[in-house]
């Protein structure tokens, strides 16, 4: 294996700081099969040449509309599904650097304890036949981390860490509310003491007051345990609140990544601008002049030519139909895939 420390910063023009995860040109194509012989007639490009990096202790927010490939990207990074192409360079707790996509199952298993996942639906992600104690203990047993008395005390510690009462450890998931179940899911994810957690729409199923509890909890835990998050959500408000940097996806491609401030103040991609302007603001005195995009999200099985956004883009020009825009750096930590990024001055969500 020829992966070195230097690979963590590769392809992003000298990234500053300690990078924990570097994703390069990641692709996931699902074949479309048809007919009796199940011939492959095309591909759904769910994730199409995506690159980004996450620093240690940082939250990288991933935002986009349904079907844009955010969840597939999250799963590919974990290698919960096998990516088609690309590399995912990860630094584990001992400082070793490896490309997750090149590891065999045995090596991957060892790394799994460093990378965990929190799911969206707290109802279907917990086994209804297992007690909370057993749910949280499972990753500890699977990874051979603890057993016996040690196991029980570690589980108790985890349950209390996420703000649940450890007296309720022997209850089943149905006895808990949505917010409490999400806490159980978080306790399970943190059981192995991971360094990197993918939160896939972790608060989307919750009411706003409970959502606030869980967001606070995730931020507290991040500080306590120095976690890095890949935070996937369709909700711009949540993304804005929790992320240090944000990536915007559209039909399988990353269109822009930037620091949260920069992205919301001065977006460089027309899709980001439209997304920011479409979000209803909880302030009746700011009924903004919004950009209402025409049409709907493109079909990833039959994407348009050139830039996928060009049929809906109010600024589109001839070149956008013909050429796929390059992924390029336009500022510190700011990358964008748009032909016109240098010419346009776009409107952010906060006063510029």
């Amino acid at each position: 294996m020829s992966v070195r420390e230097a690979d963590l910063g590769r392809g992003h023009d000298a990234v500053q700081g300690d990078v924990i995860l570097n994703v390069q040109s990641l692709k996931k194509y699902f074949p479309i099969k048809k007919g009796f012989l199940q011939k492959t007639v095309g591909y759904v490009k769910a994730v199409d040449d995506v690159s980004f990096y996450i620093r240690e202790g940082e939250t990288f927010g991933l935002v986009g509309e349904s079907g844009c490939g955010k969840t597939t990207l999250g799963r590919c990074v974990l290698r919960a599904i096998e990516p088609t192409e690309g590399s995912t360079v990860f630094k584990d707790r001992e400082g070793r650097v490896s490309d997750l996509n090149e590891l065999d199952n045995k090596e991957l298993r060892k790394l799994r304890r460093d990378i965990q996942l929190i799911f969206q639906d707290p109802y279907s992600s917990l086994n209804p036949r297992m007690t909370v104690q057993n749910i949280v203990a499972e990753p500890l047993i699977c990874n051979g981390i603890a057993h016996g008395d040690e196991l029980r005390s570690r589980v108790r510690q985890l349950i209390e860490m996420v703000g649940l009462n450890s007296r309720h450890m022997d209850r089943y998931p149905h006895a808990f509310s949505g917010g409490q179940r999400q806490r159980i899911g978080i306790a399970r994810a943190l059981a192995t003491n991971p360094r990197f957690v993918v939160c896939d729409e972790a608060v989307s199923a919750l009411d706003v007051s409970v959502q606030a509890q869980i967001l606070n909890l995730l931020q507290d835990l991040q500080r306590q345990l120095s976690l890095s998050y890949l935070f996937i959500s369709h909700d711009l408000g949540v993304i804005q609140h929790i992320s240090d940097r944000v990536g915007v996806m559209y039909v399988g491609r990353m269109v822009e990544t930037a620091r949260t401030e920069d992205l919301f103040r001065r977006p460089r991609h027309p899709y980001t601008e439209a997304l920011l302007s479409a979000k209803p603001v909880p302030d009746p005195r700011r009924k903004s002049e919004r950009i209402v995009l025409q049409g709907e999200v493109a079909n990833p099985a039959k994407p348009p030519s050139g830039c996928y956004f060009h049929p809906r883009c109010p600024y589109a020009q001839e070149i956008c139909k013909l050429q796929k825009p390059e992924w390029r750096k336009v500022g510190e930590d700011h990358f964008v895939a748009c032909h016109l990024a240098d010419e346009l001055t776009l409107q952010g969500a906060i006063g510029s």
Binding site: V208, I242, F264, D283, P284
Partner: protein, 358 residues
């Protein structure tokens, strides 16, 4: 204290006698008698719907906002029982209009069926459930038109086509003969709005119509509802859990908690001078750029199960200002704190500082 104690039966100052009021709900209750006890899904709600205005109803899941809207149409699922008064001005709300109490009508009688879809129409969260999968969009829209507007099939088709075009449906002629599954989510939502509007209702009830949609499509649908409201002078009841959408859409807002309206005022006051602790906490728990890097003000605990509730304020167990012996002693009335601002809290008068919007 200068609190004006309300008339128990009619706490709101406006009434159906006012010229611009088209519907008034008084002490509306929907109770479900179950084996485990009595589930008070809606428990004494007062609402006023004005002509050409939007009333937003906001609350978290299980607060009774959807059941309230179902009660207005008398489509509450069994064994729900509707009590109270729902006064509707029929015949378009002219001055000579006849006022009908919908609660007194038979739930499947002729008159209520005439109101449903005719005077009050509804759009739902999940358009796939509202449409029958085995009939074309055109047939389903025409059904409403044939019932309420004309008996002539050809004319009904014309009206259907017009309505589909008016909601911004691309290629309406072709869509008329398509089935619901052939449309995308946003298009289906447009088709449902077309179906609701085809019979020119006076009141449009929208129950979380954009919750299942992406933000860019949501923006399209919200703009559409506002445009149609302007054009047709329809009153809208907009139900959602999203305070951003409330700010965007409403003229007046009712905040619901555990089957009761806890705060009722115009949209500006709600965001800039809320008085109820629940409203304040709700506003402060929205993540946004102004409270970045700070902790969100979450509400401790969870909503109690609305069965066999104790006396007193429903928010008692989670309220930072709660006082034992005061808040949990008796049910709290809806108190008028200012013109057109009603709050169900005993300390509403002391909380002049108000929670800031943004």
């Amino acid at each position: 204290m200068s609190i004006e104690m309300p008339n128990r039966n009619r706490p709101l100052a406006a009434s159906i006698q006012d010229k611009d009021v088209i519907l008034q709900a008084n002490n509306l209750k929907v109770h479900f008698h179950l084996d485990e006890g009595r589930l008070k899904s809606v428990d004494g709600v007062d609402l006023i719907i004005r002509k050409g205005k939007t009333l937003g109803i906001v609350g978290e899941s299980g607060c009774g906002k959807s059941v309230t809207s179902q009660a207005l149409l008398r489509i509450v699922p069994k064994p729900g029982q509707v009590e109270g008064e729902i006064l509707l001005k029929r015949n378009g709300g002219e001055e000579t209009a006849e006022v009908v109490d919908l609660v007194k009508l038979e739930a499947d009688g002729k008159e209520i069926r005439d109101v449903r879809g005719g005077e009050i129409a509804m759009i739902f969260q999940e358009p796939m459930k509202a449409f029958s999968p085995i009939h074309t969009i055109g047939d389903q829209i025409m059904e409403a038109i044939l019932l309420h507007r004309t008996k002539d099939k050809k004319e009904a088709r014309e009206i259907g086509l017009e309505t589909l075009a008016s909601v911004g449906m691309s290629n309406p002629k072709q869509r008329l003969d398509e089935y619901p599954h052939q449309l995308s989510g946003g298009m289906r939502q447009r088709a449902m709005i077309a179906m609701a509007l085809a019979s020119h209702p006076k009141i449009l009830i929208a129950d979380e119509p954009t919750t299942a949609l992406d933000v860019t499509v949501q923006a399209q649908v919200l703009t559409l509802i506002n445009e149609l409201k302007e054009k047709l002078n329809t009153s809208v009841v907009f139900i959602t859990h999203d305070l951003g959408v409330i700010a965007e859409m409403s003229d007046e807002v009712a905040v619901m908690y555990l089957g009761k309206v806890v705060e009722y005022t115009d949209v500006d006051t709600l965001f800039y001078g809320p008085r109820h602790p629940y409203t304040k906490a709700l506003l402060n728990s929205i993540p946004s750029v102004t409270n970045r890097n700070t902790r969100l003000e979450s509400i401790e605990g969870t909503v109690p199960y609305p069965m066999n509730l104790p006396e007193g304020c429903g928010f008692y167990s989670r309220c930072p200002k709660a006082q034992s012996g005061v808040c949990n002693a008796a049910d709290i009335p809806l108190i008028k704190v200012r013109d057109n601002h009603y709050v169900r809290c005993l300390f509403a008068e002391d909380q002049n500082t108000g929670g800031e919007g943004q």
